[in-house]
Symmetry: C2
Subunit: 420 residues, 2 copies
């Protein structure tokens, strides 16, 4: 670039290596950025060791969470339950299940844990009542099926489970709901029951792990990446020399970073659920965070759904709150695209989208949520979004060239430690 | 199983190895099934060598198809086009594009090829007309952007492309439509333009291939499998000792087969797009078929959409008919679940679903399609479906035990060479 005559006129789309792209000139050498990331990784690892639990807060009596159990433990739990039920029948006490309530009235956000958990309300599900006899039968049948799955140690989907007895279950929502009840009754996660969700996430970058006994090196997964396995209990032996985990909302941004092998310039693990987080990706992210003790930086759209997705990863969805400890990844940082980035990075007006009435309502609702309120920086950003009534997708950065995301925006964000 | 007292009462859900599962007793040793599959593979390889093309049919003048071109060739094609446009302007002929028509009136089903292709109708898109000036400008801009992509040899999504000039494109449907026009103008596939679709397919089994320079062994991809790369031009070096490719409609069935490592018992490659086929999976399947010359057996739901999905893989979707030669996989066999299987395999009544009015209409419409009509076996099955007004998902087989699909149904299908 010494020969100035070769310089072309500024062209935001030229995607060339000239310095005309906005803010490119602010970038320092990669070594500077890397040393800052090393500090972040070290401090995250140090703070990760003191993870709070319900019992630390002396809430374990009043609140309920489930934990991962091996198949043999689930099997024993079901057998013990069967024995106690038989005893109850023989002693004339009858046949009934005690089921923890999963209703929203029984849910509690615990700020210290930054998670939603279940309170201690339970209900009795007796076989001898006309109103509960069906549900009691379904519960018994699901317990029987889960026992078989754990015995053979195979994994099935909720849909498979439903089809084993359509006559009894009638509708998949019925077997699904009882499956969640069974998780709560046995005190174990749904994945411990060997019932798994369809996976749609992918991972690429500086991570080596075992999937069902095969060692996977995610730096050697090309551009497609490795599909995240549906059964987290067969995932193990995680090793990494990454400095952070980059959680990406969308497929297109993931693809850009994978093709550019962003993880080689800044050692990281790139993971995406391609939109709405699925259970398998949430479990996988949590496992990475827990085992590798790396900071998690999130790249989402600048709209209420971007923040909502971040919150599902971070503190769980309401309908699986009993499992929040195992599904959520604490301390996710909001890297971008943040509402304040729109002006800061001079995103052209035509690449911003007006928020719909529904968007604005969702944004305002989020401002009332505990997990947003506890982070003043997020509140500020969300207020700005709702006030400006503008949103933008990650792809809006393509207006400065296709590789602006991987070559300027993200490196600059990392350099400036610009996350909340 | 010698001790008969140990035999439990027949229980379709017991998932045990006893012989009580329907049709299990019909299964011959795997070696018998394997030798039958070897014959199938050999005959497929022999017939694959004589693939017909448009020019074999002397239709190349009247019909139009596009082909895969390397980035350098696309770049040259754009440069030649630019030069010819400049010449036209300088000679006083003005500035206009000649664009092949992609309308359904210009589409033709060629039975010999079993594909939809474009006829030779074109339209003129002059810059000097008020009605086409915008579209001409968009076409020029897209050509400019594609030229950049090919020069740098990077891949982007349609969404990225749209965001490079929102002011001009206004709406993504406009840049998407012109992108298809540009494919037709240059005579190359959309993937040659380095514009790729989001991938969602996965592959597992007896396949080794390179993805962006990394060698991938799909027998070592655990249960999650390998995500199919979005950019087929970086996929190569395919090697396999499989006897067939098993194309699976749904995620859950894929998962069952991956966990049971079905491909080790019957050497095969298992691939799924998790529902509606995406472009990346269609390209990948075709590439496997062409390079490995293996038979493709399809496992889809027994409903009109299952057959429709099969047809998209087999002979293309109407809105990308110009690209049908590169996107379609000829000679896919319909393995199951077929309407006749419902009675043959005694699928319980409660696991069958009634077809809706819309289902029945879709089924009747399919009976009018050329690609169905040319296969009498398919017509017969579809007639049976429409007459019985019953459909069933692959998962309905779970009513005989979770592993019935991988342990009885599929092996028996293969043994009986029961495909159409």
């Amino acid at each position: 670039m010494a020969d100035k005559r070769k310089r072309r006129r500024p062209d935001p789309d030229s995607d060339s290596d000239s310095d005309t792209r906005p803010f490119k000139h602010l970038l320092k050498p990669d070594t500077t950025i890397l040393s800052s990331l090393t500090t972040l990784a070290a401090s995250t690892a140090a703070s990760s060791s003191k993870t709070l639990t319900l019992s630390d807060l002396r809430l374990s009596a009043a609140c309920r969470e489930v934990s991962d159990l091996p198949p043999s433990a689930v099997q024993s739990a079901i057998e013990s339950l069967a024995v106690s039920l038989a005893r109850s029948i023989l002693s004339g006490q009858g046949f009934s299940f005690t089921v923890p309530s999963r209703s929203s009235a029984n849910q509690l956000y615990v700020p210290e844990l930054d998670r939603i958990v279940l309170k201690d309300k339970t209900s009795i599900r007796p076989y001898s009542s006309v109103s509960t006899v069906r549900k009691t039968t379904i519960t018994t049948r699901i317990l029987h099926l889960i026992h078989q799955l754990c015995l053979k140690n195979i994994h099935v989907t909720k849909r498979d489970l439903f089809y084993t007895d359509v006559k009894l279950f009638q509708d998949q929502t019925q077997s699904d709901a009882v499956l969640d009840d069974v998780s709560c009754i046995l005190g174990c996660t749904r994945s411990s029951l060997n019932v798994v969700a369809a996976e749609k996430g992918v991972v690429v970058g500086r991570l080596i792990f075992s999937d069902n006994g095969d060692m996977i090196d995610c730096t050697k997964m090309g551009m497609g990446g490795k599909a995240i396995p549906p059964n987290i209990d067969r995932v193990g032996d995680m090793k990494s020399d990454a400095l952070f985990i980059l959680l990406v909302e969308k497929d297109a941004a993931y693809m850009r970073l994978a093709e550019d092998r962003f993880y080689n310039r800044f050692p990281c693990i790139i993971v995406t659920a391609k939109g709405q987080p699925d259970v398998a990706t949430r479990l996988f992210l949590r496992k990475m965070k827990m085992e590798l003790k790396l900071p998690v930086l999130a790249l989402v759209d600048s709209d209420p759904y971007g923040l909502k997705i971040l919150s599902v990863y971070g503190c769980g969805s309401k309908n699986m709150s009993y499992d929040s400890a195992n599904l959520t990844t604490p301390d996710i940082k909001w890297l971008g695209i943040r509402p304040s980035d729109l002006d800061k990075y001079k995103i052209p007006e035509q690449c911003r989208l007006p928020m719909t009435e529904q968007d604005i309502k969702t944004g305002k609702d989020l401002l009332e949520e505990d997990f947003v309120k506890k982070n003043p920086g997020w509140v500020e950003e969300l207020n700005l979004m709702v006030k400006s009534k503008q949103k933008a997708e990650i792809q809006a950065l393509s207006s400065f060239g296709f590789q602006y995301l991987s070559e300027v925006y993200l490196p600059l964000k990392l350099q400036q430690r610009d996350w909340l």
